[in-house]
């Protein structure tokens, strides 16, 4: 893994990303802007599951309004994120937060898919009350995204955050 990261960091693509001044800040800005889109879309859907917002519309309509942005945003984040990793693979691979974040992203994406599949057919009329399980899942997904955001910031602070569990090579 370390050898792969070192090899990747030396490739022309990676070197370009590292050396052209505006690429990394722009990618990070895109990443943050799409956090806004993905997170808020997810919050809106969750609030609808809880019956707290747009309760006058069937769940399927609210899903239809926000899910395309959620999925589109996730795609943009995967592309921008991947490009950022290609630019600094050693830093990312040496961060425990990064690996946990990737695992949680997989969980979040799968959960969103399951939520759409199970709740949309059930929520085609106004007034559908969702089960406590569905409501808990909706809240859990929001909490998951928040954890992911914190882990994203923590990548740069691996030893401060994780202490002896940090993946940074000992100095």
């Amino acid at each position: 893994m370390a050898a792969f990261a070192e090899w990747l960091q030396a490739t022309p693509v990676s070197v370009t990303i590292q050396s052209v001044k505006w690429i990394v800040p722009l990618l990070q800005a895109i990443h943050i802007l799409t956090i806004g889109i993905v997170f808020v879309s997810s919050v809106m859907i969750a609030l609808r599951v809880l019956g707290k917002m747009r309760a006058d519309e069937p769940f399927a309509v609210v899903w239809g309004r926000f899910a395309p942005w959620l999925w589109g945003g996730i795609v943009v984040m995967l592309v921008s994120g991947l490009t950022l990793v290609v630019g600094e693979p050693i830093r990312e691979f040496n961060s425990l937060s990064f690996w946990i974040k990737m695992a949680l992203v997989v969980v979040g994406v799968l959960s969103t898919g399951v939520m759409g599949r199970t709740l949309r057919p059930a929520g085609t009329t106004v007034g559908t009350e969702f089960s406590p399980g569905a409501k808990t899942s909706a809240i859990a997904l929001i909490v998951l995204w928040i954890f992911i955001i914190f882990l994203g910031r923590a990548i740069a602070y691996d030893t401060e955050v994780w202490g002896s569990w940090s993946l940074h090579p000992p100095t």
Partner: protein, 179 residues
């Protein structure tokens, strides 16, 4: 660069000292700032899209703004608190940073855009609330808002790459940067 005494006082405060020395404080505050700022942008984006008549004008603008803006303001408050703490920790550096200053200007522009919309354009909302295209002033406000907030976030990220580095290198000195 003249640093006003108040900036120095903020940087010398106990709170600022705590932010600088506490190991966990800075990452947590920064993460909260990202979460809050992203939420501000995400919620404003929904409202601005509706001002632009997207995805459609079926849902009344007033309902959309009621649904979103409570979250916008809550998130903005959190962003200001977190931002204030980050600023305090390195007040002198941020004060002198061009991108930080531009970001503050952009925030003021966002506020002016909002004030003009609320004070003037919104007065006629009953006429364009739903089912009809939004007036030009509303569309301009929405487009400007998106542009300004994207600029705020881009500038904000740029600060991280430029703070502390806006000095002139003396002519005859070779700087050796080891990253």
């Amino acid at each position: 660069m003249e640093v006003p005494a108040i900036i120095q006082t903020i940087q010398d405060s106990g709170l600022a000292e705590w932010m600088r020395t506490s190991v966990k404080a800075m990452p947590i505050v920064e993460a909260l700032h990202v979460l809050a700022a992203a939420t501000v942008f995400g919620t404003i984006f929904v409202v601005d899209l509706r001002l632009l008549g997207l995805p459609n004008t079926k849902r009344p603008f007033t309902r959309v703004s009621d649904e979103m803006l409570w979250l916008t303001w809550s998130a903005f408050a959190l962003a200001v608190v977190a931002g204030g703490l980050m600023f305090a920790a390195n007040a002198v550096t941020y004060y002198g940073n061009t991108e930080f200053r531009l970001k503050m200007v952009a925030l003021v522009c966002a506020g002016i855009n909002m004030a003009i919309f609320q004070g003037i354009t919104y007065r006629s909302v009953a006429r364009w609330d739903s089912g009809v295209p939004t007036p030009l002033a509303a569309r301009v406000a929405g487009a400007l808002s998106i542009t300004i907030w994207v600029a705020v976030i881009c500038l904000a990220r740029w600060i991280g790459f430029t703070k502390g580095y806006n000095f002139d290198v003396p002519q005859d000195i070779e700087l050796d940067f080891k990253f």
